[in-house]
């Protein structure tokens, strides 16, 4: 393998890793944009999405519905998105809404508590929940070789699907009436309420979209890595948060940029630096801090003048 081949192959690896991060990051951007909340339980909804799909697959398997693979995949995605979103809306009504007006610290801690509760509930109630769980292989497994570079069909599907999901989310919140309401709340909750926007419904919808995207990310994560685990959301949450900040909190496309940048940073740090593999996160987080200090609005965020 030549150096160039290696760079290209590692870039592909970085892109794949990055799109996984992007899918989680988009949720953070959404919650922050609307509720001004950093939802630390988001990573755990991501995990929950994966487990929901696994349960649904188990049901399909016992009923013998596994013949038609495309239909099965659609069933897994839709089912898991709906179930995860339902749980998200219920928990949001119970725990997040009562503190949505409280200081940021409180909402941060509430979502942290929610994350712990979800994670532990999965571990305790899912059969042998603390073990890693294999995820069914449903996407085509072949690959395409260009010279020494190998591109797997599965990767292409996941990447395209990931970008598509983010584009759809962007469409939903910038082009539809519902999205307008969401953004109005983001700008000024009270003013939006006076103009007839139903605040409760908007919060519900935000959690619906956020959790559905998290579920998609969880399932794709399962397809890509072939396993899911109850605690996979914790680190993913922190990285997703970082990626959304690098991209620019509040900007949906920023999530793609931030996620992919974080993925590439990790990949190349691991591939090129001495002791890189074990220290790549140090490097990536260092870059995050630099961003926060010198460009806190992120790559795609707009510069905001602080009103005095």
């Amino acid at each position: 393998m030549s150096v160039l081949d290696m760079i290209i192959q590692q870039s592909i690896n970085g892109l794949m890793l990055g799109i996984m991060y992007s899918l989680v990051a988009v949720g953070f951007t959404l919650y922050f944009g609307v509720l001004n909340v950093i939802n630390f339980s988001h990573g755990d909804f991501f995990m929950l999405g994966g487990f929901m799909a696994l349960i649904l697959y188990g049901i399909a398997d016992t009923l013998g519905w596994t013949q038609n693979v495309p239909l099965l995949i659609i069933y897994l995605f839709l089912g898991s998105m709906i179930l995860t979103a339902l749980i998200a809306i219920i928990t949001a009504r119970i725990c997040v809404k009562p503190v949505s007006k409280a200081p940021m610290l409180i909402s941060l801690l509430v979502t942290l508590g929610l994350g712990i509760a979800i994670r532990e509930a999965v571990r305790v109630f899912y059969p042998r929940g603390s073990d890693p769980k294999g995820f069914p292989t449903l996407l085509p497994q072949g690959s395409l070789s260009i010279g020494n570079i190998v591109i797997r069909y599965e990767n292409v599907i996941i990447f395209v699907l990931g970008v598509l999901v983010i584009v759809v989310v962007n469409y939903l919140i910038t082009k539809t009436k519902m999205g307008m309401a969401i953004r109005a709340v983001a700008q000024d909750g009270e003013a939006a309420m006076m103009m007839g926007v139903d605040l409760d419904r908007t919060i519900d919808i935000t959690f619906l979209i956020g959790a559905a995207v998290a579920a998609v990310a969880g399932i794709m994560n399962g397809f890509y890595y072939g396993q899911i685990m109850f605690n996979m959301g914790a680190m993913m949450g922190v990285i997703g948060f970082s990626a959304s900040v690098i991209g620019g909190l509040g900007n949906v496309y920023g999530a793609i940029v931030g996620g992919i940048l974080f993925g590439l940073l990790e990949t190349f740090a691991a591939a090129t630096l001495p002791m890189g593999a074990e220290n790549k996160r140090v490097f990536a987080f260092f870059i995050v801090i630099l961003f926060l200090v010198f460009k806190p609005t992120g790559i795609l965020g707009e510069k905001v003048y602080e009103r005095v």
Partner: protein, 405 residues
């Protein structure tokens, strides 16, 4: 008015005081003909390592139940389970909890090396026998001269020595190492590298990965370019599974060898056919080959445990048996039990003969290679992959294709 509220407060106060005194006085009451002796079990019951932890706990409990069912035993045994979450800080508290209960006479403790190494002081200071049932870091027994610390399972040194020698036997020449950065992974990497150098294996690269990592494509892409005969992985199943999966996806067909950390059911369950041909090394002899092994297996199943005993369950079982035997012999006295355990020599158990050296380490003569075949871990020597068997290890096939063999 004032007087009345004051009086009622006084009444509440005295009631509470009495109540709390009553509750503290009512410890678990004695009674019954036999004296109750407590034996502690410490290991992970929550968190990522709860799987093997629960297997160990069940096996331990099985030994206690068997002893209680035995009409000849002099005491009634009570198991005390304490969760160490696989965190050193919690482990120290757990050990202290066991040690500060005077009724606890011995402790069968720790699956995670990190925790085991942090608690040896606590056990030593309290004079409580600490029989390690899963942690493999050599320093736990060899790093001190505490006579309270014993270990029934082997250490990384023995495991990796045999492993490296076997690699040469199979004809491998080059190896790439991936390890997790915990003490477990790093320790395995160090001892393996040492042994590998001694037997003349060439190490192409060593890469560390953090324990909550999921994506190994970067590291594997590098390894693919190195084209080794075998990939050695030092780490536990939660990392081993995605690593193996991604290895298959990247079409890396070198042999995949792991440490004892991947020899558990979840590895086979999660990977399905992709686990086929993966090798793992574990101290001790396979259950099926031992006199009491099948009996243990049957008893475990008969006791109705949902979770499998996992790789280290038998060790926890044996550790409990050793503790019970010592107590039966010298009575419920911590010091005497420690002294008695130290004399253990050539005792027949389901994990083979147990002999403690001067460090309290069981000098296990056996290290067994297992191979994943049809979704089960099978001793390599009994599998179709054995030399001259019906199947060929993927690494061998790969080397033949490349013309290296």
């Amino acid at each position: 008015m004032q007087k009345r509220t004051f009086a009622s407060l006084l009444v509440i106060f005295s009631v509470v005081l009495i109540l709390s005194l009553v509750f503290t006085a009512c410890g678990p009451g004695g009674g019954g003909a036999k004296k109750t002796v407590k034996i502690a079990w410490i290991g992970p019951l929550t968190g990522g390592n709860a799987g093997p932890g629960i297997g160990g706990r069940n096996s331990f409990e099985l030994a206690i139940k068997e002893a209680n069912a035995n009409p000849n035993s002099k005491y009634t045994y009570e198991a005390v389970f304490i969760d160490d979450e696989c965190k050193p800080e919690v482990g120290v508290q757990a050990a202290l909890k066991a040690a500060s209960d005077p009724e606890v006479i011995a402790s069968v403790s720790h699956y995670c090396s990190m925790v085991a190494i942090s608690t040896v002081d606590t056990f030593h200071n309290n004079g409580l026998a600490d029989i390690v049932w899963g942690a493999v870091l050599p320093a736990i027994t060899y790093g001190n001269d505490y006579k309270e610390v014993f270990r029934v399972n082997g250490t990384m040194i023995q495991q990796n020595k045999v492993h490296a020698e076997d690699m040469v036997k199979w004809g491998y020449k080059t190896v790439s190492i991936i390890h997790d950065t915990s003490d477990y992974g790093r320790g395995h990497m160090e001892y393996f590298s040492e042994s590998a150098k001694e037997v003349g294996l060439q190490i192409l690269s060593v890469q560390g990965v953090v324990t909550d990592q999921q994506d190994f494509t970067t590291e594997l892409t590098k390894i693919k370019a190195e084209d080794p005969d075998v990939i050695y992985f030092g780490g536990l199943a939660p990392l081993g599974i995605p690593l193996r999966k991604q290895m298959v996806k990247l079409d890396i067909r070198s042999q995949f060898d792991g440490t004892s950390g991947i020899k558990n059911n979840s590895f086979n369950e999660a990977l399905g056919p992709d686990a086929e041909g993966v090798i793992s090394y574990l101290e001790g002899a396979p259950l099926e080959e031992l006199p009491g092994g099948m009996k243990f297996k049957q008893a475990y199943e008969a006791a109705g445990y949902k979770e499998p005993p996992e790789a280290y369950g038998p060790f926890a079982y044996v550790a409990a048996q050793l503790a019970i035997e010592a107590i039966e012999k010298v009575g419920p006295d911590r010091q005497k039990v420690v002294d008695e355990l130290a004399t253990t020599k050539g005792k027949d158990t389901i994990i083979g003969e147990v002999t403690f050296d001067e460090y309290g380490q069981n000098i296990v003569p056996l290290v067994t290679a297992y191979v994943s075949e049809n979704g089960q871990w099978v001793p390599l020597s009994q599998s179709s992959y054995k030399e001259g068997g019906t199947k060929e290890l993927p690494g061998i096939t790969f080397m033949k294709e490349k013309g290296r063999r």
